[in-house]
Amino acid sequence: MIDLLQFDFMQRALIAALLVGLAAPAIGTFIVQRRLALLGDGIGHVALTGVALGFLTGTAPVLTAVAVSVLGAVAIELVHARGRTSGDVALALLFYGGIAGGVLLISLAPGGSNATLMSYLFGSISSVSTQDVWVIGLLAAAVLGMVAFFGRELYVLCQDEEVARASGLPVRFLSLLIAVTAALTVVIAMRVVGLLLVSALMVVPVATSQQLTRGFRSTMALSMLFGMISTVGGLTSSFYIEVPPGAIIVIVALAGFVLALGLGRFVRRSRPQESSP
């Protein structure tokens, strides 16, 4: 572990991994509870268009990705709020549009090709620059800040939208907030695990910790811990065994889920029987 910290690029990568591991499951807990587990995937697809737009216009791809994925997230939320039956079809249309738009735009960009997109699709954490670390740090702080500031209201919303409305909460605004926060998370995580695997960091640690916990708060805390263990653990092992970091991070997270599944079953069985009073 010490020799790995001697490299500057590895230091930057570890900081980025830590921040992503912390931020993604925090918003992920609300997303899972709201039955929007695939929201991250949808935004990830749309973000690809944003990345390509950055290359085409010569601006930083991270910034255009933020702009386009926030727009995409708002669109997804509006579709979700409006439609009932046609909702998932409309979402699917948006996903395809995102990928096709990305590939189309990148081919128009000078010197751009699908290979340029690969590092965004599958992540390239070892090429994270100091500036990237700052952007990731700011966005992660924004995500965690929003969860801390609106957490109580988001909890009520994700539990029962009607109760939230009957408590006078700004339901429309909070729903958009979740979508926008998810979009920011997608952009942060894009460099670490890649757009295609972004959602895994929002969903898998939450699924893992809910095998072991009984409360919402504890689920969120534990999932943030699992998130960090997966990203840092995956990154470290990729340094030693030369595999793509994004993939190994997700595999580590999934392995954790399988372990927790077995452990959770054991814990529940050894608990005193929950009898009705």
Binding site: V32, G215, R217
Partner: protein, 250 residues
């Protein structure tokens, strides 16, 4: 609410309802399945948009109503959502939301109200258990505790007795009678009143989207009055409909 009309999927469910609940009343909305009982109270709160007429909460339309802490809404059932575990205490404590400000930590008053609510429904010992492990009746008690924790003036309950065991029903009746003694207003939807019957001061019976009875609770007669009688047939059929209260406004 005056002249309230609601259509769901273009099918008229409420066709002109005039209803005013006065402070301190205990109103039961009765009627057969599909008569629009739940829709009525949801429309009253502005949760379901009206297609005609208007509804006022303490004199303000729902969109401009600000004093939501005065209303404690108890939905029909606990929604499980995406399945993230949550403890009984977390759910009950969230009933304080309309009284809390952002960034302000949970106050001692919040904690006391939550404890009291848990105590009232007999769930204090199980506060750290996940709600997912509870039976239907117990979940209903948690939902009522959530509304109690908010210390509202008016309780709006959607079928608090549906699918609830006898013990929980009795507990609900006891809780309600305490609330009534405190001068709280209660509006509840019920398919059958059971132990709640003596508490009800006014019954509103819905039929085909109209109010067909509004006044003292209709008393069960004959075999229906016998204890232990199982009420399984549709209600609207045998309720003494009083044509005087018919107010078709559309």
């Amino acid at each position: 609410m005056s002249g309230g009309q609601v259509s769901l999927d273009r099918r008229p469910v409420l066709r002109g309802i005039d209803l005013t609940v006065k402070p301190g009343e205990v109103v039961a909305v009765l009627g057969a399945n599909g008569s629009g009982k739940s829709t009525l109270i949801r429309a009253l709160l502005g949760l379901t948009p009206l297609s005609g007429g208007s509804t006022l909460l303490y004199g303000a339309p729902p969109a401009r109503f600000r004093e939501w802490w005065r209303i404690g809404y108890v939905p029909q059932r606990l929604s499980v959502g995406g399945g993230v575990p949550t403890t009984i205490r977390e759910v009950v404590a969230s009933g304080r939301i309309a009284r809390q400000r952002r960034l302000r930590p949970t106050s001692p008053a919040d904690r006391e109200a939550t404890d009291r609510a848990l105590e009232t429904v007999g769930m204090a010992r199980r506060a750290a258990d996940p709600v997912q492990a509870l039976s239907g009746g117990q979940q209903q008690r948690v939902l009522i505790a959530r509304a109690l924790a908010g210390e509202p003036d008016t309780f709006v309950m959607d079928e608090p007795t549906a699918g609830v065991d006898a013990q929980s029903q009795q507990l609900l009746a006891d809780t309600l009678s305490t609330l009534v003694d405190q001068g709280k207003t209660v509006l509840l939807v019920a398919h059958e009143l059971g132990p709640l019957e003596p508490l009800i001061t006014r019954a509103v019976v819905l039929r085909d989207g109209f109010v067909c009875h509004d006044g003292p609770p209709p008393h069960a007669v004959g075999a229906h009055a016998l204890p232990g009688h199982d009420h399984v047939h549709p209600h609207a059929e045998e309720k003494p409909a009083s044509p005087l209260d018919w107010r078709p406004t559309s």
